[in-house]
Symmetry: C2
C-alpha cells in the first residue's frame, strides 16, 4: 500500500467552505491511488473557546476534565470531513482515538503517543475507506481521554505516519511552506523546496513558527518525510527530510531572525570554576531561558566578562534576581535591550570553508556591529541592533544567493 | 445505597453561571447523603448549531457521522460540570457513554439503550464519586457512537434510574413542573404535586411539551419515579409515578388543549365494511396523522357520515389526496379549520359517574358548541371553535376545582 498521511490544521478546517475544500484535497489523493489517512485539528477558534470556558468554571480546572473538554473539538471537525467525503461518494468515517485505539503515556494535558493499534485502520484502508482520525488526543491505560502536550495534531500525524510507514506526512497549514527567511520582513524570501530535519529544527526554534521543534524532532527520530504546505493553494510546499535526500549544493538553506532579545553583561567577574553556575542557577530556577552565552578570554587570569542573552520579556525579572543575589560578585553590570539575533542555517556550511568570514564581512560592509556570536555545526548566530534587522537579512540573503 | 439520578436539560446548563448553579444543586443532594448520578444534555443552542453545520456539509448528511457530531455537545457539558464539582472539592468525573459502556440497539439517530454496564459506576459511587454521564447517546456493537432517537437525554436518565434502581429520577428543565393546564393560556393554572404515568401520557401527547411521551412510557414500564422541576427555583416540582402512589380524591388532574386542528367530514358515504379503510389508507401512506375519528350512526342503514381531525398543516395535502382518490364515493365533503381540542384528564373519572355530563353542561352554559367528542378511560376530548379555547379552559378549570 502507498500510504500518505494528511494533517489539516485549525485554519484549514475553520469554516464549512474550508472543510469542503479539504474533502477536495483528500479526494485528489485518492484519484492518484494513494491510501489516505487523515488527521484533523479542531476548527480554528473552537479550542480557545473551550479553554476559556474551563477558566470561567475554575482557575484551576481539572486536568483530566480539560482533556475531555478540548478533545471534543477534533471530534466535530472529523465527523464533518467524513460526512463531506461520504456526500461526495467516497467511503469514509471518523475514528476517535479510543476507537482505534491510540494510546498515550504521560500526564493529562501533556501526554505523548506510545502505541497505535493498526488493525482496524488497515482493514478499513483495504476496504477502500478514508479514515478521518482525531488529532491531538489519545487514551491512557485507564481509558481516559488524554491530549498531546507538545506538537498537538502534528505529533499525532507524525506518529501515524511512522506506525503506518507512510510515504509522506503532509502538514496542511495556513502558510505555503518554509521560506529562506521571514517573507513578512523580506519580500524576496523564497520557498525552500526541501530542508533537512536538522536545519528545520534550527529554523523552528529560531523563529519560523510553522511547526513546533518537538514535532520535527519526532519526525527526525522516526524518519518520517514531512511536507508542509497550504490547503488554500495547489503549489507544492516544503519537504522536510533526512540530509541525504537533499540533492543540493547550496551552502545556506535559510536565515532566521528573532527581534526581542536582550543582552546582559557582567564585567569583571572572578575567572574561577563555579562562577557561571552561580549566575545561571537562580535564573534557571525562575524559568528564565538563557540563550547565547559568551565568556571572554581572561586577560590577566583573574577576571573575565560574561555575556548572555534573554528575551526582552524576562529582562525586568532578571534584573531583580541579580540584585537579590548578593553572592554574585562583579565590577559592573550592563544591559542592552531590543536586539535582534540573525542566524544563517545550512548543512552545507560544514563542508564549506569561509562561511563565517563571509557572514561577518557582509555585515561589516553594511556597517552593522556584531555584539555576540555563537556557532554550531549547521548554524552561525550573531546578535545585532534591532534596527539593523532588515538590512542584515537583505544583505545576507543576497550574499548566500538565496534570492536565486 | 440511596441513589438519585439527576438529569439537566440544555437550558439548565446553558451558560457557565448555570453550570455553577447545577453544581450547587448536585452538592446539596450529596449533603443529604444521596448517591448522585448525573446526566447532562448539551448546553442549549449547541446541538442546533452542530445540526446546521451538518446540513451545510450535506443535505443528506451521513447518519453515523451525525451521531459522532452531535454527541460532542454532551461531552463538553459533562466535563464542565465535573470540573466545577472538582473545583468545589467533590470527587467527580465525566463518563462518556463508551467508557461505561451504555450500549444501544436500533439505527443511527434513532437508537435506544438496551444495556448499561454498572460495574465501573457502582465502584465510583462507592468511592464517593459523582459520575457525570453524557445523555442522549450510547455505543452500538460496532463501537460506534449512537444517539437516542426518542426522548434523548430524558430516556438516558430513565434507563440509568432503572438499572441503578434509583429512588427517583429528577428531570431538571426550564419549567417548574406539570400544570393543571397551560399557564400561558390560563394564569390560574396550578402546579400538580403528583400525576400518574397514564395521566401524564395523555397530558404529554395532548400539548404539555415538558416530556416526550416515549420517555414517560419508558418510565411507566420500568416503574421509575420521575420528578420534573426547574433548576432555577428551589420549589419541588411534579412527581410522575404509578397510580397507587397518588393519594388524592380529585376527579380531574389536568386539562390540555391543542389549537391547530382541522376537521374533515364525508357526508353520505356507503355504510359498509372497508369504506373507512379506503379513506384512511392513502392518508396513512402520506404520513398524515389522523386524530379523532367519529362515524355517525347510519339512519337508513345505507349511508353514513364520517368525520376525522388532522393538524391544520396537513389540511392542504389531505384535500389533494382526497381529490386524487376517485374510488372514495361520497355526497359532500366539508372542511372546518382552526379548531381547538380540549381534553380533561384524570384517573379519578373512572370511578366517578357524571364527569362527561358535567363537562358538556359546563360548555353548554358558556354557549360553546361541541363539534366532535372522543373518550378514553381517563380522558374526554371535545373539539370546539378555536376562539372559545380560553373560555372553555377557564370554565372547566373552575368546574373541576383545579383553581383550588
Amino acid at each position: 500500500m502507498k500510504i500518505v498521511v494528511l494533517k489539516f490544521g485549525g485554519t484549514s478546517v475553520g469554516t464549512i467552505e474550508k472543510i469542503k475544500n479539504v474533502a477536495e484535497i483528500i479526494s485528489n489523493y485518492k484519484k492518484k491511488k494513494y491510501e489516505v489517512i487523515v488527521i484533523s485539528s479542531a476548527m480554528s477558534g473552537v479550542t480557545n473557546d473551550l479553554i476559556s470556558k474551563s477558566k470561567e468554571i475554575s482557575r484551576n480546572f481539572s486536568e483530566t476534565e480539560y482533556d475531555v473538554l478540548v478533545s471534543s473539538g477534533e471530534q466535530v471537525a472529523c465527523s464533518l470531513i467524513a460526512g463531506r467525503l461520504i456526500h461526495k461518494g467516497l467511503k469514509s468515517r471518523s475514528w476517535l482515538a479510543w476507537q482505534i485505539p491510540i494510546t498515550t503515556v504521560g500526564s493529562h494535558k501533556n501526554s505523548r503517543i506510545n502505541w497505535i493499534n493498526k488493525n482496524k485502520i488497515i482493514k478499513f484502508l483495504k476496504g477502500g475507506g478514508v479514515p478521518i482520525i482525531t488529532g491531538f488526543q489519545g487514551i491512557n491505560t485507564d481509558e481516559r481521554i488524554t491530549t498531546i502536550g507538545r506538537g498537538g495534531s502534528d505529533a499525532s500525524a507524525i506518529m501515524l505516519a511512522k506506525f503506518f510507514k507512510a510515504e509522506r506526512c503532509v502538514i496542511y497549514t495556513d502558510v505555503e511552506g518554509i521560506y529562506t527567511t521571514d517573507p513578512n520582513i523580506l519580500k524576496k524570501a523564497k520557498k525552500i523546496r526541501s530542508i533537512s530535519y536538522e536545519e528545520m529544527l534550527e529554523m523552528a526554534s529560531l523563529g519560523s513558527k510553522v511547526m513546533q521543534p518537538e514535532s520535527i524532532q519526532d519526525a527526525r527520530l522516526n524518519r518520517v518525510n514531512i511536507e508542509v504546505r497550504s490547503s488554500f493553494f495547489k503549489r507544492p510546499g516544503t519537504l522536510i527530510t533526512k540530509k541525504k535526500n537533499i540533492n543540493t549544493n547550496r551552502i545556506i538553506t535559510g536565515i532566521s531572525s528573532t527581534t526581542n532579545d536582550s543582552k546582559v553583561t557582567f564585567v569583571g567577574v572572578k575567572d574561577k570554576p563555579g562562577v557561571a553556575a552561580s549566575i545561571f542557577r537562580p535564573l534557571s530556577k525562575n524559568f528564565i531561558n538563557v540563550d547565547m552565552v559568551v565568556q571572554n578570554i581572561s586577560a590577566n587570569g583573574k577576571e573575565t566578562d560574561l555575556t548572555f542573552t534573554i528575551k526582552n520579556d524576562d529582562l525586568r525579572k532578571t534584573k531583580k534576581i541579580i540584585s537579590e543575589n548578593k553572592n554574585i560578585k562583579f565590577r559592573k553590570l550592563l544591559f542592552d535591550k531590543d536586539l535582534s539575533k540573525i542566524s544563517i542555517i545550512g548543512v552545507g556550511m560544514v563542508t564549506t570553508p569561509g562561511v563565517t568570514f563571509r557572514m561577518f564581512q557582509t555585515l561589516a560592509n553594511k556597517k552593522i556591529n556584531i555584539l555576540v556570536i555563537s556557532t554550531s555545526e549547521i548554524k552561525i548566530s550573531v546578535l545585532i541592533s534591532k534596527k539593523n534587522t532588515k538590512k542584515a537579512l537583505t544583505a545576507l540573503h543576497k550574499e548566500f544567493k538565496l534570492d536565486k
